[in-house]
Amino acid sequence: MRDFFYGYPRPDGQVGIRNHVLMLSGTLYANPTCERVAHMVQNTIPIVHPLGRCQIAPDLAQTFRTLVGHGNNPNAGAVIVVDHFKEQGCTADDIAHEVAKSGKPVEVVNIRREGGAIEALAVATRLAVEMNRKINMQQRERTGLNKLIYGFNCGTSDVTSGLAHNRCVGWVCDRVIEAGGRALGAEVTEMMGGEELIRARAKTPEVAAKLLGMIERMEKSILACGVDLRGSQPTGDNIAGGLSTIEEKSLGAMQKWGSKPIVGAVDYAFPIGEESGLWLMDTPGHGGESITGIAASGSQVMSFSTGGGHTINHPLMITMRLTGNRESWELMKDTMEVDVSDMFEGASLDEAGERLFNEVLDLCDGKMSKAEALREFNAFAINRCGPSV
């Protein structure tokens, strides 16, 4: 079994599997500048979103933390932060100040300061060209899996999820952890009903208590809406796929957790600790928001397992999609990487798990995901904890 990949070491000790220039938008009004530069300049990835303004303090702090986390993600070799004027608590200067602590090159472009959208675009484009020419001299180096944060998530689940592809993800988590690495999951909605399993798997009572607290808060926020969760979770496509209740969905989703102890739990978009093992993050079941939180924590690569098939991918954290549903694979194979549906015809978990493991490490070494090849970015979505004001 391979226990290394070839990556780009960063000054802060993290290791990237890509070496992109990141166009990081501080507010929604800077999005076009980021997108235009990314269209023009090779190897340049835009992070755009509808936030950064008129958010109450804790919500704005979450947006800020998520953006800083993406600047710090080791798949970014250099970062250009763009904003349009001055947003208290989420300025490009503040974001750049935090990202600069990682030691990687960071620049700021303020649209007003540069003299408007056209001038700012020229300045940002020139910076992106120069940064790319500089960082692209860097070579990949052999790296142990102790530097890998293997992210995982699932969506459009059906009854094949808990039986096939989610188990393969769990198998890969176990191998990554055995090699000294970390695996990072999330999706608190899909822990409802799995409390017994969490108590048994948590390394300490504190970790269990933190996770149970997250589940309780999530359930209270649902109950406060005064509606039946069904239809939202499980979603309509989950129910069509044979999942009857959130508890059934949760227990199937938790097959992704493999068999190692849960060593820690963190709030949304916070970095995880250094300890090797299974980590979990407080995110909703919403795929885009969940994987964005995981990317903000420094995960380089993500397995997204799906029953019904999916196009989901994150712009910076390399996302591969797998399914154990043969029909979904046939329909969606243009945007999915791994088929494990032969598990229903006798293929063992070891065989299917190793297939996934090899694809994950190949992606780490630079093999393009289908989303990368198609230049398709669709799942950067920051979770909110407050209203717009």
Binding site: I222, C225, S244
Partner: protein, 100 residues
Amino acid sequence: MTLRALIIDPRDNVANLIGPGSKGAEVQCTVERQKETETVRLLDDIPSNHKFARTDIQAGEPIVKYGLSIGRASKAIRRGEYVHVHNIESNRGRGDLQAK
């Protein structure tokens, strides 16, 4: 071709059909990591990969899958009957019940 179904945990009272099944068909059920199989005759048409009852289940009893409760039977369910949202009630996230 024999229809097959998977029982994930020996404590489970539902089984997952592999592929679709028709009313009256016999299904060979395997409990994971066990050699013995059991045969269940389907009482309903069942969509691809959905669940059916492995035993008779009384109204209000837990539906058990992965060895844990995934909800409770909203009516009596006979062995071989289709099990889904029409006869399972979730115990979680039920703001509708709390609002009443």
